[in-house]
């Protein structure tokens, strides 16, 4: 995948990754599962760089900022000092699919924008672009010619 050169490209890649994972016309449950999977990958990628607490702080801050446009997401914060990815997924699952889809993408976008402010867009893209890259489908893997053939 080419490096996302602009903010718009990065945002587009995030939305595409989310859409690729939850498929067409998803229910809130599928969106929650896709969101949870992406966030776990982001957490796993970021923790060696900024530690678990660093990731949690960034996630909480992003959630706080996102709730300004999606107030219902704030319930994920209301009962915990530090919001968790799991509580977010539960909140998304309880929402309506359209709102959940928009809020999920908005939260990921906010997180990456915040990270880019801290460590720069280039490093942000280098760290997270592999996560936004589409996962090859099993059929594509099967039909792909082997290197030694």
């Amino acid at each position: 995948m080419a490096a996302a050169g602009t903010i718009e490209q990065r945002h587009g890649a995030i939305r595409a990754a989310l859409a690729h994972r939850h498929g067409r016309e998803p229910g809130a449950g599928a969106i929650a599962v896709a969101t949870l999977g992406l966030w776990r990958e982001v957490a796993a990628g970021m923790a060696p760089m900024i530690g678990v607490r660093g990731f949690e702080a960034l996630f909480s801050r992003s959630l706080h900022l996102t709730t300004q446009a999606h107030p219902w997401l704030g319930l994920a914060l209301a009962h915990e000092d530090c919001a968790s990815v799991d509580s977010l997924a539960a909140r998304l699952e309880a929402g309506d699919p359209r709102s959940a889809q928009e809020a999920s993408a908005a939260l990921l976008v906010t997180f990456t924008d915040l990270l880019a402010v801290m460590i720069g867009a280039s490093l942000t893209d280098r760290l997270l672009n592999p996560i936004w890259a589409p996962i090859p489908s099993p059929s594509a893997q099967e039909t792909r010619p082997r290197a030694n053939e």
Binding site: M49, I50, G51, L58, R61
Partner: protein
């Protein structure tokens, strides 16, 4: 180097000597004549000579092998000795790298935590600043602009009107018999009524207009762009109608009336003080005429008639 048992060379030599003696004894035992015996002796000596030479050569070869083995062993020892510190260095380098990575992660983590905390505190500070600004420029009971903010808006409106050539109107409002509400229903009910009045006033004017609470039951409306006095009068009547609808104050529902005095720029004054004074005089006249009405300022009102109530 540790002591070892009989070497392979010694054991082989012993075996060879035993094997070489066997034919000589056999030939001696088999000799029947002196000549045969002498020949046998000579043959034995010759065989011994050959054997000694072979043993010497074997001895030399064995010595060489042993020297080679010693050299190999020494080289192995040296290599082992050389490898030990190299492995140690590699382990130390690996540990140092792991320590550096952990340190970097801790530093990054602290950086992220402090940055997020700084962002959060900055946001809180901005909210406090905004709240202070709101408090400084707005009435705490109704949330409407206060006298200071109104004065600023009025100055800007007059400057804009002067430049663009349109009119500005000032509406001075005073509730009729508001004191009765406080006296009969209590001040909390009076506060509820003032909030209700504020909401209806805001709903009665354009977004570009300004509604201000001067204090008590007095309000000022700034209509920032009017074509003629009739526009202001129309808004004033709309306000009277809006405020006349019953207000729900807890368990009570009451209706109130209001008196309004109007002054216009530039006819009734060209500065804020003159306009406010003119609107106040018009309001006094509305009160004097029986309340619940609109009065437009006229120069005749400028004559002192006493205080309004």
């Amino acid at each position: 180097m540790e002591a070892r048992g009989p070497t392979r060379r010694t054991r082989t030599a012993r075996r060879k000597i035993g094997a070489a003696d066997a034919p000589r004894e056999s030939a001696w035992a088999g000799a029947r004549t002196l000549a045969e015996r002498e020949a046998a002796v000579l043959a034995g000596e010759e065989a011994s000579q050959v054997r000694r030479e072979a043993e010497d050569r074997r001895e030399v070869a064995a010595d060489r092998r042993e020297a080679q083995a010693d050299r190999r062993e020494a080289a192995t020892t040296l290599r082992e000795q050389a490898l030990l510190p190299r492995e140690g260095k590699a382990k130390a380098r690996s540990k140092a790298r792991a320590r550096a990575a952990a340190h970097l992660r801790r530093v990054n983590e602290r950086l992220v935590l402090t940055t997020v905390e700084a962002l959060t505190r900055t946001e809180a500070a901005e909210q406090v600043t905004a709240a202070m600004s709101q408090t400084a420029q707005h009435d705490c009971l109704t949330g409407l602009p206060n006298r200071a903010l109104f004065a600023d808006r009025l100055e800007q409106s007059l400057a804009c009107a002067l430049r663009q050539g349109h009119g500005v109107a000032l509406l001075f409002l005073d509730l009729d018999h508001f004191k009765l509400v406080n006296d009969t229903l209590g001040h909390p009910a009076g506060d509820l009524l003032l909030r209700s009045i504020a909401g209806r006033l805001l709903a009665s004017v354009r977004q570009t207009d300004t509604v201000c609470r001067l204090g008590g039951d007095e309000f000022l409306l700034l209509l920032s762009e009017i074509r003629e006095v009739a526009d202001a009068v129309g808004t004033a009547r709309k306000v009277i109608a809006a405020l006349a609808l019953p207000h729900r104050l807890g368990a009570h529902r009451i209706s109130v009336t209001v008196s309004i005095g109007i002054s216009c720029f530039p006819g009734d004054g060209v500065d804020p003080e003159a306009l406010v004074r003119a609107a106040d005089l018009a309001l006094y006249e509305a009160k004097r005429k029986g309340r619940d009405r609109v009065q437009v300022y006229a120069r005749s009102l400028a004559r002192p008639r006493g205080r309004r109530v």
